[in-house]
Subunit: 159 residues, 2 copies
């Protein structure tokens, strides 16, 4: 058995798996732990969380699932390395944004019909998509799940 | 457009993306760098590489793609934490095994027809699969790509 519904379900399963693990870990770590560097001279946990919120929020633009809520995090957590951004967000607020962005995405994903996931995403041209139909919205979801797993392996070091 | 071929291609793209990134990073890191801990008191780079070789080699059993080549790494790199295994493999040999296991898997994956990826994998029962057909061989590939991304985020700290 293989249907569009099944593929979409498999992609969303990967996303939920990684976001679920990350949320459980972040909930377990104290503000003090998250303020520390994952390794000497490397990013702090709080920076990684802000970075993930900004990247996940930006998925709305790429997938066409809604307006961004947290674009103001881009400067500090996406465009600049840790400690060089203009405005740092407190950990209680980062925790709140983390919940908000994932709730909003879960709701938006629930409203996308399977066929929509196989359409072109908004960060590529119609021509590129014709040449490689594998670069659809579902591939963005899989890529972001992989990106989250990458940073989850780092956050894990704060335990 | 959504076909089994396309979805399999998307899954293999994720796998190639993560293995390609990991291979490039490992090739760039010296034996000395890979002998270090990713963070104080955490796993050494060499342990993570051995762990990934063992996990990827074991995919052959789960996917039915061939005999395992590196089962002797399981004790040190899978069943035991870093430094408690019986037999440590040298970094030159780990680098060689890394190439071998990924070449073998790439070849095996190239021989699997798309429908095969949507069949039950060998680590679950027929009944479980009937209840959740999303837990097929392709889901194993996506899970392992995520697992690799997790450890890649850690190896990156050795740079």
């Amino acid at each position: 058995m293989s249907t569009p519904d099944l593929y979409v379900q498999m992609g969303i399963t990967q996303w939920k798996l990684q976001t679920g693990r990350a949320t459980a870990l972040i909930d377990k770590l104290s503000d003090e732990q998250l303020s520390k560097e994952i390794a000497p001279g490397k990013n702090r946990g709080s920076y990684i969380i802000g970075h993930l919120i900004a990247v996940h929020d930006a998925m709305n633009t790429i997938l066409g699932t809604g307006e961004r809520q947290f674009a103001r995090l881009d400067d500090t957590y996406l465009k600049n390395p840790d400690r060089l951004g203009e405005e740092e967000i407190s950990l209680p607020l980062l925790r709140q944004y983390w919940q908000q962005v994932h709730q909003q995405l879960a709701s938006a994903f629930g409203n996308l019909v399977p066929e929509e996931w196989f359409k072109r995403h908004n960060a590529m041209t119609e021509e590129d998509f014709t040449n490689d139909p594998g670069r659809n919205k579902l591939s963005v979801l899989l890529n972001r799940a992989g990106h989250l797993a990458y940073h989850l392996g780092q956050l894990q070091l704060l335990k």
